[in-house]
């Protein structure tokens, strides 16, 4: 058995497809990005090696810093608005027994299975100042002024709302699963000890959910950092870069401003930032180590 299980050729044949995919789709592009990051390539024609000047420009680039700040804004928005809501709804849903539980869970998750392309265009219409749903709802409450939701003042909030709406079901589902996994004996014991509902939620549900919350917070921060598609379709990063994100910015620089070299330099820094953030979050929440998996 040991001999059979140490056959190097067999092992190689088993891991080779995975390694090839990794090399071809992830490693090679990253190496190429590093290479182009040192050039002034425009996307076509000739180019020169220009050393670190792309990176020096990047440090001074205000738009890039705005894009990182926007990611931070989104992450805080997810953690302070979406997640508390998701935990509360999950806890409430858990109390509901019978068929309705499944129906609600299904409804909450539906936006998640719809393509970002549909979501972005749908919300463009919802925000539409002339016939959009949102302004029509506000009219019911006596607000007759037509609000432009994509003005520099509101645009980032508009993006945040779409993302919270779209991802709510996912976050809720994970908290819901976490709550379902809590041993019901604990609740019974708490009730016997005379704890009321509030105490049960804050003393039992929340503390036991800690690992789930950590996983969800990690995912929220990373998804805020990786945000691109919704912004690309909804606002294009505008107005005036007020909703710019790193991924969208590098794409624009390469394909619209024809600074392919610079775009790749942004890409390299962006990858480093994502790696550092992911690794440090995993360190902080160290009970969730990748290498242990």
């Amino acid at each position: 058995m040991k001999k059979l299980y140490s056959n190097k050729l067999v092992i190689l044949s088993l891991v080779l497809p995975g390694l090839l995919v990794f090399i071809f789709a992830i490693l090679a592009p990253i190496c190429l990005s590093i290479f182009y990051g040192f050039t002034n390539y425009s996307g076509m024609g000739k180019f020169d090696y220009i050393g670190l000047s792309n990176y020096k420009n990047l440090i001074k680039d205000k738009v890039f810093w705005t894009s990182l700040r926007n990611s931070l804004f989104l992450a805080i928005g997810f953690i302070c608005i979406q997640h508390p809501l998701a935990i509360i709804v999950a806890a409430v849903l858990d109390k509901l027994q019978g068929k309705a539980e499944g129906v609600f869970r299904c409804i909450y998750f539906i936006p998640n299975v719809i393509s970002v392309a549909v979501i972005a265009y749908l919300w463009k219409f919802i925000y539409n100042p002339d016939f959009g749903l949102l302004n029509n709802i506000l009219k019911l409450f006596g607000q007759h002024e037509k609000i432009n939701w994509f003005s520099p003042k509101y645009a980032i909030w508009s993006v945040l709302i779409v993302l919270i709406w779209h991802g709510f079901g996912w976050g809720m589902l994970i908290y819901y699963t976490g709550i379902k996994n809590i041993d019901p004996v604990l609740y019974e014991a708490a009730v016997i000890d005379g704890a009321d509902k509030k105490a049960v939620f804050f003393r039992i549900t929340l503390p036991l959910m800690k690992p789930v919350i950590q996983v969800n917070v990690t995912m929220a921060i990373i998804s805020a950092l990786k945000q691109m598609e919704t912004v690309y379709l909804l606002t294009g990063g505008g107005p005036g870069n007020s909703t710019q994100f790193a991924a969208n910015y590098l794409y624009q620089q390469a394909f619209k401003a024809f600074k392919y070299g610079y775009g790749n330099a942004i890409g390299v820094v962006y990858i480093v930032i994502c790696l550092v953030v992911t690794v440090s979050l995993n360190r902080i929440f160290s009970d969730r180590q990748l290498s242990k998996g």
Binding site: L14, I114, L122, A247
Partner: protein, 281 residues
């Protein structure tokens, strides 16, 4: 005392329902609005009401969306690409997970970490260099331009989930198979794989959900309609029918429909799969 308690719990029950229904309305109403506007005509949209009762149900909107949006072609492309991606991710991740978790070699831990790295790399950072690579070796506008990155970015999660499950399969089973003269490949595909059914479902669902709605790579690597996927009909439409809002609503509803229908039908399995995948991954 009892009476008060009962009243209180009944009030609590109402509050519970109120919260749940409010959230449900927020989540579902934009979609109802979408369907509602998609059967109206464009002139009727400028009302101050929330929903409109169309004078005549405009099914013509859907006809235009269906034909001019190349719905069938794009649906077929989406289904094919995602189907292949799921199958490839499953096969590759089962093989790699088995080799890394069960077999004896020095680099097993290292290779696994390398393969899992893909989880941390932002997909969109590879858009620029991959565009160049596919252009040079002639992969743009082929199915491979989407299949390769889709598999690459779903593989880490697949591997992660599979290794967890594979590890829990008792060694005795494999020992018995070896006694009977099974080779490694037969052990992996005939004995281990059938036992992985629940995790195969989870990985398949996660891969499918991740890639079905993917749009950025498809829009970067493809320029001809041959392999374009479903999200594209909307983009093409907004150009073509820029002033006909009603038809745009119809095309959005149509594009969203397959995923929503499949989800509602398989809701229990998908929910379970996602929950399992997300909590473990």
């Amino acid at each position: 005392m009892d009476e008060v308690g009962k009243k209180k719990s009944r009030f609590g029950r109402y509050l519970l329902w109120f919260i749940l229904i409010c959230v449900a309305v927020i989540q579902i109403f934009p979609l109802i609005w979408l369907v509602n506007f998609s059967i109206a005509s464009s002139n009727e949209m400028f009302t101050s009401g929330l929903l409109i009762i169309p004078k005549k149900i405009q099914l013509g909107n859907y006809y235009k969306a269906f034909v001019d949006g190349h719905f069938l072609l794009y649906l077929k492309n989406s289904a094919l690409i995602n189907g292949f991606a799921v199958i490839l991710v499953l096969i590759i991740s089962i093989m790699a997970a088995f080799a890394c978790r069960k077999m004896f070699w020095k680099l097993s831990g290292f290779v696994k970490i390398v393969l899992l790295l893909g989880m941390m790399i932002p997909i969109h950072a590879t858009l620029l260099p991959n565009y160049k690579i596919y252009h040079v070796i002639g992969l743009t506008d082929t199915i491979w331009a989407l299949l390769i990155p889709y598999v690459a970015f779903s593989l880490p999660q697949g591997l992660f989930l599979m290794s967890g499950f594979i590890e829990s399969i008792p060694v005795e089973l494999e020992e018995a198979a070896v006694m009977d003269g099974c080779g490694i490949y037969r052990i992996v595909f005939r004995i281990i794989t059938p036992m992985l059914k629940p995790s195969i479902a989870t990985v398949a669902i996660m891969t499918f959900l991740n890639n079905w709605n993917e749009f950025m790579m498809a829009s970067t690597y493809l320029s001809t309609p041959k392999w374009k996927t479903l999200p594209f009909s909307i983009l093409e439409f907004t150009g073509q029918y820029s002033s006909n809002y009603a038809v745009q609503f119809a095309v959005m509803a149509l594009t969203a429909a397959p995923a929503v229908i499949v989800y509602v039908l398989l809701n229990k399995h998908i929910t379970k799969g996602v929950a399992l995948g997300a909590v473990k991954g």
